[in-house]
């Protein structure tokens, strides 16, 4: 996808598009998601995210952003359609293979989802422990990451004693500690001040430059200007909207 174009990054119009972009890390083909017997929350999503890309996912509340992210971090399977992740069809993939894929994805949850009885250090170390990293090899990377997010002095604090912003930073540190191939963040800067938001975004940006594909769902139009090379996906009522890409960079007046 060209940097200066006006199309939404990687969005493919037309359900029957035969070949998606080479080098895509995520490919959606005619994906629909329905909870129970209700109407479809997501309909006919067809797009691809290229490996190493940086994407913002925007849209009004209730548009289906969190549902889309859940499909990306393998918390849900779609009701229909095909999703390819890291080149493999994860819709029909046996359940036993999913953990290996999940370890390649970092997730920042909107509600943080920190483990309440674990310290800040142990929460951040969790993905490494799940991946089988020995304790002796955890100390340095976790301390370094805590310093990055400004929580070096809160390593032993429990989540209940942290402020909302601090919890959010722990959640972000946990998501990026394992240098995931795909980082999925749901409103990652919603509870931090603008300076910290920029700092965290810089962290995502740095990770992206190291090769991680980043997708950030946000309402915050200011963020969109922080990463100039970012592409945008816009969801509206469960469908990819705004095919002209007018919101790719917000107008100046919106930055005020």
């Amino acid at each position: 996808m060209g940097r200066g174009g006006h199309a939404i990054a990687g969005v493919h119009e037309g359900a029957g598009e035969a070949a998606l972009n080479a080098g895509s890390i995520v490919q959606f083909e005619n994906v629909g998601l329905r909870y129970g017997t209700g109407a479809e929350t997501l309909s006919d999503l067809s797009f691809s995210l290229r490996e190493g890309g940086f994407y913002f996912l925007t849209g009004p509340s209730g548009a289906g952003k969190t549902s889309l992210l859940k499909l990306l971090y393998l918390a849900l399977r779609p009701s229909r359609g095909v999703i390819r992740l890291f080149g493999e069809d994860i819709v029909t993939m046996p359940r036993g293979r999913l953990p290996g894929f999940r370890r390649r994805i970092g997730v920042v949850f909107q509600d943080f989802r920190l483990v309440p009885h674990l310290s800040t250090f142990d929460n951040v170390a969790l993905p490494l422990r799940v991946a089988g990293v020995e304790d002796k090899d955890l100390e340095n990377p976790v301390r370094e990451m805590l310093a990055w997010v400004g929580l070096a002095d809160r390593a032993s604090a429990r989540p209940a004693t942290l402020s909302g912003g601090e919890q959010q930073r722990v959640a972000i540190a946990r998501a990026v500690i394992g240098r995931p191939e795909l980082l999925v963040a749901d409103e990652p800067t919603g509870n931090v001040d603008p300076d910290m938001a920029r700092r965290l975004l810089y962290l995502f940006d740095s990770l992206n430059k190291l090769g991680t594909t980043v997708i950030v769902a946000t309402h915050d139009l200011h963020l969109l200007t922080e990463v100039q090379r970012a592409d945008m996906l816009r969801l509206d009522r469960g469908q990819i909207a705004d095919p002209t890409g007018a919101l790719r960079h917000p107008p100046k007046r919106a930055e005020g």
């Binding site: 971090y73 393998l74 918390a75 849900l76 399977r77 359940r95 036993g96 999913l98 953990p99 290996g100 894929f101 999940r102 370890r103 390649r104 997730v107 989802r113 483990v115 309440p116 009885h117 674990l118 142990d122 170390a125 969790l126 993905p127 422990r129 799940v130 991946a131 089988g132 990293v133 020995e134 304790d135 955890l138 394992g178 240098r179 995931p180 191939e181």
Partner: protein
Amino acid sequence: MKAGARKFGVAERGLLPEGRVAGPMPWVIAIMMFLTVLAAAAGLGLAGAASRFDAQIGTRITIQVVEANPDVRRAQAVAAMRAVENLPGVTSVRAVPEAEVQNLLEPWLGPGGLESDIPVPALIDVDVTPETHRALDVLRRAVAAAAPAARVDDNGQWLAPLASLIGALKWLAVGLVLLMVGATAATVVLAARAALDTHRGTIEILHLMGATDVQVARLFQRRIALDALFGGLVGFILAALVLIGIGERVSALGSELLGSAAVPAPAWGFLVALPAFGVFLAMLVARMTILKALGRML
């Protein structure tokens, strides 16, 4: 982050909150183990008694020579012994010494009771093969021809009802042990489900970070095994104290019948293994329950 790691590091201990995961489960297991050990001990004791009775019922007969004249009694006893000792299927013949007969009768006649003129029958223990035991007529005819005052008593006639009762009690004990095992397994299932519900948030996070079902199950089964070990040991120690106390009182009674149903020494090895079996059962049931529950998650 590379896929394929199969287990957490040594710090997995901290991934679930400290303390018990399963509420009162250890105490329920302690009660179950207490009752299981008592039931198993009763079953083992009764099984030993039953096998001893079975052996006697199947192969032992007693010839009583009931004759007031001691000379005739002795002569007929010798004749009866000679008559049976060479019969096919007779494995041993033993004249019960008078001193032994006195010991048998002393509880009824009192010390020195035999010094009176009460005639006491001569007793001959005869062991036969089971085939011969099933066809005693030949032996009875031989004894009757040689010693008219002799009477052949089949020990099985009076031991059989007792042996039948003991056999039934033995199977009752086995049934109780099986029921306890089932109840313990059900307790663990409930405890594991409760633990899963309590820690669902943590499990979901671990799950979304790529923890495998086996990794998550291992966290719980380890904790539940520790709880089961605690409960099992408490239950076993209490039951062992009760059994030792009962054993001492039975010994003090000096009853041969009760003594025959005591827990034999080798059986203690089996009883000691029960807590270990309980821990294994708890781990297995917890693992199956948790894996089944996790299998319903994506």
